[in-house]
């Protein structure tokens, strides 16, 4: 496990300023999906109770049905937690020295990259859409000097505030470097 107090390759006097994950709407959407995936068949069972109960007591059909229902519930349960893990392991860390981007892509691909604050050229926040505006979350783009690739903090809460803090940290870092 990664300890925020002891980051890998930590520099002297480096402090964690921001630790971000996607907004709560992402895990909420995952659990809503799980809820409906389980609730819809349950409602069907209640509506057609007599028919389904008849099938469940019929040899062979009942045997198949009980195994299919079990497999379906296990699949929904597993899918929910795979998606949650995917969400949970995507993190962005901003320190006094650098920005760390860790993204889990599926179960077997993991991308970790870092960007020194001296490389930050431009920071942009984006809040797009009614829900994003209402709940105040969106993307923050970090443009690096000399490169076209950007760091993207996806669907983070308070993107405007995050942008301001990154800009402030970058200015502070550059001022500190000039003094030294």
């Amino acid at each position: 496990m990664m300890d925020l107090q002891h980051l890998p390759n930590a520099l002297p006097n480096e402090k964690v300023i921001m630790f971000m994950r996607r907004n709560w709407t992402t895990p909420f959407g995952i659990f809503i999906f799980m809820f409906f995936s389980l609730a819809i068949p349950l409602v069907g069972f209640v509506i057609f109770y007599d028919q389904i109960n008849n099938w469940l007591t019929t040899p062979f059909i009942g045997h198949v049905l009980i195994l299919v229902i079990t497999a379906y519930i296990l699949a929904i349960w597993l899918f929910t937690f795979l998606e949650f893990t995917d969400y949970y392991l995507d993190v962005w860390i901003v320190t006094t020295e650098r920005i760390i981007n860790i993204e889990q892509k599926g179960l077997f691909t993991r991308v970790a990259s870092e960007l020194h604050l001296s490389m930050v050229e431009d920071t942009t926040s984006e809040v797009k859409g009614i829900i994003h505006t209402f709940l105040n979350y969106g993307n923050v783009f970090i443009q690096t000097a000399g490169e076209r690739t950007r760091f993207i903090f996806k669907d983070v809460p308070n993107p405007e505030m995050v942008k301001e803090r990154v800009v402030k940290l970058t200015e502070d870092y550059k001022a500190r470097s000039k003094k030294e």
Partner: protein
């Protein structure tokens, strides 16, 4: 007159594909928990998620097992019975 050979399939044979599904569930669950405990930042969240996931999985499997054992899996399914049923149905 063409006659079909008697083909009898034991119902427990359904456990073969079901067992494969359960095996895949356990395999992916293992990787899921491994990722949560290995790569997450140090916090209670990953432990809590693991406990909820494992607890939920145990409850689902225990309830499913209670239902599964209530069925008679020694029965056999005769394919010709099924075909007769289908032809009479038509």
């Amino acid at each position: 007159m063409f006659s079909l050979p008697t083909i009898v399939i034991p119902i427990w044979a359904l456990f073969i594909p079901f067992g494969l599904i359960v095996f895949l569930f356990l395999l992916y669950s293992f990787f899921n928990i491994y990722h949560l405990l290995r790569f997450a930042t140090y916090s209670m969240g990953s432990y809590l998620t693991t406990v909820i996931f494992v607890g939920g999985s145990v409850i689902i499997m225990a309830v499913a097992w209670a239902y599964i054992v209530s069925y008679d899996w020694t029965l056999a399914w005769n394919l010709s019975d099924f075909l007769e049923f289908k032809s009479s149905f038509l």
